[in-house]
Amino acid sequence: MLQIQDLVKVYEDGTQALKGISFTVEDGEFVAIIGLSGSGKSTLLRCINRLIEPTSGRVIWDGVDITAADPRELRRIRRQIGMIFQQFNLVKRLPVLTNVLTGRLGYVSTWRSITGRWSRADVERAFANLELVGIREKAHNRADELSGGQQQRVGIARALMQEPRLLLADEPVASLDPATSHSVMKYVEQLNREMGVTVLCSLHFLSLARTYASRILALKDGLLVFDGSPQEIDDRRFKEIYGEEAVEVEIR
């Protein structure tokens, strides 16, 4: 269970990105976070694993206060939380396999990792995960030789290496075309359904959220303006979240 309590983030330049947000996510949920650009989606997700230090408020996961963890403890927590990014954030010059293996960094010693002595089990698991996302044959290619969709699948494989119980996804498909978007989202859905990973996924398009999410949170100007099931978002709600002029578009 993930509890967000009164989370506030004020950036150094004074921007109030989150203005006090509270909600609770049960294990196994697929939560989509929607909202306009600049509404605070990325900030919220990064505050959960403290890539961004929240200004105040608490993030409690299975009874552990992440916001109070010391650096060592924070790394222990982080390694159980997978994360995927809009820009994939792969280390472009390293081979795909190494990129996937970096998902194990929280589990192996510094010395073993930087000398490249990964355990046989880890390497096998990396191949298995690449298999799962369908790009095993690319294992020895450099990451920047892959297409966008393939890169995001490497990102998912990297997150899978962590054996995460929670997956944070920050607009995982915003840089991809609609068809590829669906294929990537299918893998995320698979994680959620088959492995029981809790998913928090920010999305630009409501249609994607409707298709994959079991619950939708909507942010507007750093405030939570909607929390409910996809069906509950009607035209009025939609206009509330996205503004009067917006029209819903379908992503197929």
Partner: protein
């Protein structure tokens, strides 16, 4: 990292034999395994480095070549076993020998570096005290006459100087070179400090010494002092009147710009002017030449294309010769002075800018030219609206950048007599006048940093 082992084509070869061959002659093991390129590269490297060491008589360095020798043999064995040893370690072992040679050739001597550090202390201290300002100091002096060397006739009574004001006295009326002389003083301002000087018959002056030290005097609270000096050498053998002088500071003026500051400002101006002139001339000629060095313009005809190669080659040769070397030649030609420096910097600027300009011309996009031609514009209009807007921003950017470089260069062109601040700076360092050197160095740092900033701003605006 685990790689799937590639099925090795050389499995039937013997690993031990490969290693042995490698030990015998570097690279032979690889050649035996059919890895021709790598084997040849190893052999060439080994031969080249050995040849170099032999030629430079550095045979004592042989042990440093051992890692490379052993590793490449070991590597051959690994290849034969079907494993891939990677290239990094081979390069590193070769680097050991290369750097061992380099260490010897460049006479690196860390012990000397540490042991001689005190020599540079005065410089470092002076670096923090550039003498841009100094005080004008007024001196007063009291003189007393005596005779050197002593003549055959008996000397008179010990002399005293006559007032008004402070007076000096000596313990003897004549002295031979090397004699100790005691100097008395009275009526001086209390606690006054000063120096004792000697002035000979023809007016040459020098500080007085005693037992190898310069002699200063300090008056007591009663205005008296007593000091011993050694009579200096004199050129005459006949007794002649000589003088001892007590010199002291009467007035310390306010801080004012020093002679050094004046020179630095003047020469710095010369430096900047040199750079400006060289850049301007260089740019003018380079613009003309760049058209002949632009591949896309010159490809129209075999003859022009040949010209293109000639111009390019000349530019490359010219560019390889540092302006300082050219400056020496121009100093012989037009004499010492800033003009020689301007010429040297101009030549180098022509070469450097000519290359950059011509590359800018080569990078012109044909799109806009096509578009303007399509509007029915004539040739001049096409050049004015299609070509110039594309080439002037890089031209200006390169030129400003060149000016920046030329200022740096002209700070040193004076080292070979080419004018600018370099000449003074080198003189000051040689004469160990480190405070003046420091003044010049800080001035250079200031000017170069400002121009650096200025030129990067200009380039940012343009691009």
């Amino acid at each position: 990292m685990v790689h799937e082992t590639p099925s090795a084509p050389s499995l039937r070869r013997h690993p031990a034999l490969a290693a042995l061959l490698g030990l015998l002659i570097p690279g032979l093991g690889h050649l035996y395994l059919g890895r021709r390129e790598r084997g040849a590269a190893i052999l060439t490297t080994a031969l080249a480095l050995t040849g170099l060491a032999l030629w430079l008589e550095l045979t004592a360095l042989a042990p440093w070549g051992l890692p490379f020798w052993l590793w490449q043999a070991w590597e051959a064995r690994r290849y034969a076993q079907g494993r891939d040893p990677g290239t990094l370690r081979l390069l590193l072992t070769a680097a050991i020998l290369v750097y061992a040679i380099g260490w010897q050739v460049t006479e690196i001597d860390l012990q000397r570096f540490v042991a001689n550090a005190p020599k540079i202390r005065p410089f470092v201290v002076s670096l923090l005290r550039p003498n841009y300002l100094e005080r004008e100091i007024t001196y007063a002096s009291v003189r007393i006459q005596f005779t050197m060397p002593c003549g055959p006739e008996a000397p008179g009574p010990p002399p005293t100087s006559s007032g008004p004001g402070p007076v000096l006295g000596l313990d003897r009326a004549c002295a031979d070179p090397g004699d100790p002389i005691t100097v008395y003083g009275e009526g001086f301002p209390p606690n006054l400090e000063g120096e004792l000087w000697f002035e000979n018959t023809i007016g040459d002056r020098a500080r007085l010494h005693h037992q190898g030290e310069l002699v200063d005097f300090v008056a007591g609270p009663d205005g008296r002092f007593q000091a011993t000096v050694t009579a200096p050498e004199v050129a005459t053998e006949q007794p002649q009147p000589q003088f001892i002088e007590a010199r002291y500071v009467t007035e310390v003026g306010p801080l004012q710009p020093s002679e050094t500051a004046r020179l630095v400002v003047y020469r710095m101006g010369e430096t900047i002017a040199q750079a400006l002139m060289a850049t301007t001339w260089g740019a003018l000629f380079a613009v003309l030449i760049s058209f002949f060095a632009a591949r896309n313009l010159m490809r129209v005809h075999p003859l022009t294309f040949a010209l293109y190669y000639v111009v390019r080659t000349l530019l490359n040769i010219l560019r390889a010769i540092e302006p300082l070397i050219m400056a020496i030649v121009f100093v012989v030609w037009v004499g010492l002075g800033p003009f020689a420096g301007v010429l040297a910097l101009t030549m180098h600027s022509i070469a450097a800018l000519g290359k950059l300009y011509s590359e800018a011309i080569e990078n012109i996009e044909p799109g806009p030219i096509e578009a303007i031609t399509a509007t029915g514009a004539n040739r001049i209009q096409v050049i004015w609206f299609g070509v110039l807007p594309q080439v002037w921003p890089p031209f200006v950017a390169f030129t400003v950048y060149r000016w920046d470089i030329n200022v740096r260069m002209s700070t040193i062109i004076g080292f070979v007599g080419g004018g600018g601040i370099g000449f003074l700076l080198q003189q000051w360092i040689r004469l160990t006048d480190f405070r003046s050197a420091s003044a010049a160095i800080w001035a250079i740092a200031l000017v170069v940093t400002v121009l650096d900033f200025f030129s990067s701003e200009v380039r940012k605006r343009i691009v």
